[in-house]
Symmetry: C2
Subunit: 432 residues, 2 copies
Amino acid sequence: MVESLKVGLLGLGTVGTATAESLLSPNPAHALLKEITISKVGVNSLDKPRGVQLSAGVLTTDLEGIVSDPDIDLVVELIGGLEPARSLILKAIANGKHIVTANKAVISRYGEEIYQAAEQAGVYVLIEAAVAGGIPIIRPLQQALSVNRIDSILGIINGTTNYILTKMAAEGTDFAEVLAEAQQLGYAEADPSADVDGYDAADKIAILATLAFGEQVNLEDVSCDGIRQVSAVDIQYAERLGFEIKLLAIAQRDETGLQVRVHPTLLPKNHPLATIDGVNNAILVEGDPIGQVMFYGPGAGGGATGSAVVSDIMNIAAMLKSSQQVNPLIKIPQHPRSQLVPIQKLVTRFYARLICVDRPGVIGNLGTCFGKHDVSLESIVQIDFNNGLAEIVVVTHNVEEEKFRKALEEIPHLKGIDQIQIPSVLRVLREA
Amino acid sequence: MVESLKVGLLGLGTVGTATAESLLSPNPAHALLKEITISKVGVNSLDKPRGVQLSAGVLTTDLEGIVSDPDIDLVVELIGGLEPARSLILKAIANGKHIVTANKAVISRYGEEIYQAAEQAGVYVLIEAAVAGGIPIIRPLQQALSVNRIDSILGIINGTTNYILTKMAAEGTDFAEVLAEAQQLGYAEADPSADVDGYDAADKIAILATLAFGEQVNLEDVSCDGIRQVSAVDIQYAERLGFEIKLLAIAQRDETGLQVRVHPTLLPKNHPLATIDGVNNAILVEGDPIGQVMFYGPGAGGGATGSAVVSDIMNIAAMLKSSQQVNPLIKIPQHPRSQLVPIQKLVTRFYARLICVDRPGVIGNLGTCFGKHDVSLESIVQIDFNNGLAEIVVVTHNVEEEKFRKALEEIPHLKGIDQIQIPSVLRVLREA
């Protein structure tokens, strides 16, 4: 490295602005930051008012120019979305530039292609900001925890859905109402699908699982349920039974293989993740010999995510000071493709809420049906009555998803079970 | 680096055995571990039965021989205690060997000398295992969080005392009883002073504060109170007032300067550290722009601590693969000496329990006395009666420690206050 590491920044939104502010600070938190300069910042429009003061000529709309500028050592991609982000990253790599990105959508889909290109070009691709904002999780997984055999990663890694579920639990209000409120407050997007349908969490857990288990996870194989199906009444019943409902992203390896999935999950109240409220994120890693380690903090926001971006830039600067060769523990290696276990083979516990005509023998009939399909019940409780209808909540022990689903399919055809509805089926964290 | 990094291990206790097991595993969790070999293991006695199988000639009682062996690249110091650990580390450094150590006592006292020697010799000294066992905290502080201005570190970093306080709270039993039980279970030492008097936590917070605030903290300046003074009745009263009592290690920088201290602390029940129970550790870092980040996990144990040791060894192996020059972000730099703010100048809240003759006007007299010394009270509650005595619990707002102590000194001399005792004075986490 020469005296100064020259950075080209793509995008100047919330995270980009926070990143630029950190790098331009006259009084930086770390001396190494003084050796990093912003050469160019690529944006869509030169006329928009900006939160940071940039020198003349730094701001440009020529993003292609940045990734091919021979004076730039490192490209920070913060424009988000799939294209042109992916192409710009690949061109920058082809031109020998190191990459720092917060783009979970690109990394979860094109990570393999990008890591491979980086390997050939001998450059770093650092992605600390792509998962859980400011929380250090990528580097701890690569450096501190990689001497362990990882058994599972359980994460609350979408702040919007955790905010909504926390509000629903605190106020007893239903999903739609809390979502509308969250949208007004700016905690949820106008099109909330990426968050509430679990896709954002799926991107992130695919990235974490790839690193932790050393297999390239195909995003399309990640099973994904969002929180639209969670109702205030389920949160109440779960509470009575000793559980909180959280949208968990889970990557777990057991004797059946590796499973990666996102779904609302009933967690025992004393579980470390059960108390994570609001927009915060937390990631619980379980491994051998380390046991359980949890990382908790702000999962989003310009300052927190910018902190992760700047730490990646500074780490590259530090490594280049001692060597032009890539550190094998910091680079993301290419992994063999992962073959995930399908969700039907998942072994977990279930919570189901059923409504049917209240009649003697109903619980017995349900119990018999579950038994026939090898579904062992932890509890079956008739919770409420309404116009001659019974509301019944079932919590199972560990069972294969396929068997549980077959039992559910049979229930409407049972004798003595009339006007059956099954408004909720949720997974419960499996028994150890 | 040549093909293989050759390690000399000093000590083969719980952590040493777990470390050796990881390094000798035929099926290691990370490919880089295959490139690390154990050349020598230094112990006190060759005859003791060992939990790992070592090749002939590896085990030796000649520890001096290990630190001067020209074939050894890296020395792992796990013998603990001050001497000969310090001297062996310094000799190994003088002989050009990298160091990995879990020795918080040596690093908190002789860190400056050791870092300086390492700087001159151009070797790494990695200490991830010295604080909070397996929880990655040293490297995240150096790498991910160092782009932030750190405002505070609050840690539950002694598992023994957290186990004792958790038990006392759950069962309403007093300190001495729970300590005896913890000693029987092996959670507390026969001589429990290092844990229960807070010295172990002081060692660790001195190390963390030095890294986080960039000033070499002198261990003797760290104010340190243990948990012997905490009684079951205080835990109960704190509970009623909405607090948990935890032994916190705190490093905090504000307008008065840097303060580093260890003391039992009342924490609001909704504080992230309030729910950390049993032998677990947790460290809450607050910085700008990142906000609050927490690291949680097993603070001790051979497996967890061994995981930190092995990750340090592997990180050195990875760095040496790309360069013989030391990475400036991984090495621990020399810091200017810290000038800590004395505890008298601490601004915090207080909890005090007072017992005196029950008589009209007692609360008024106490209130007036506190007011005279600028101590603003949040609550003053007469909790219990006994033989004509009143038990009064006071919780203050933020106040300078010196002023609060002066008010306490004056209380026995107040008119109308008879037979006063002040069995408990505890600090409450200060208001933001």
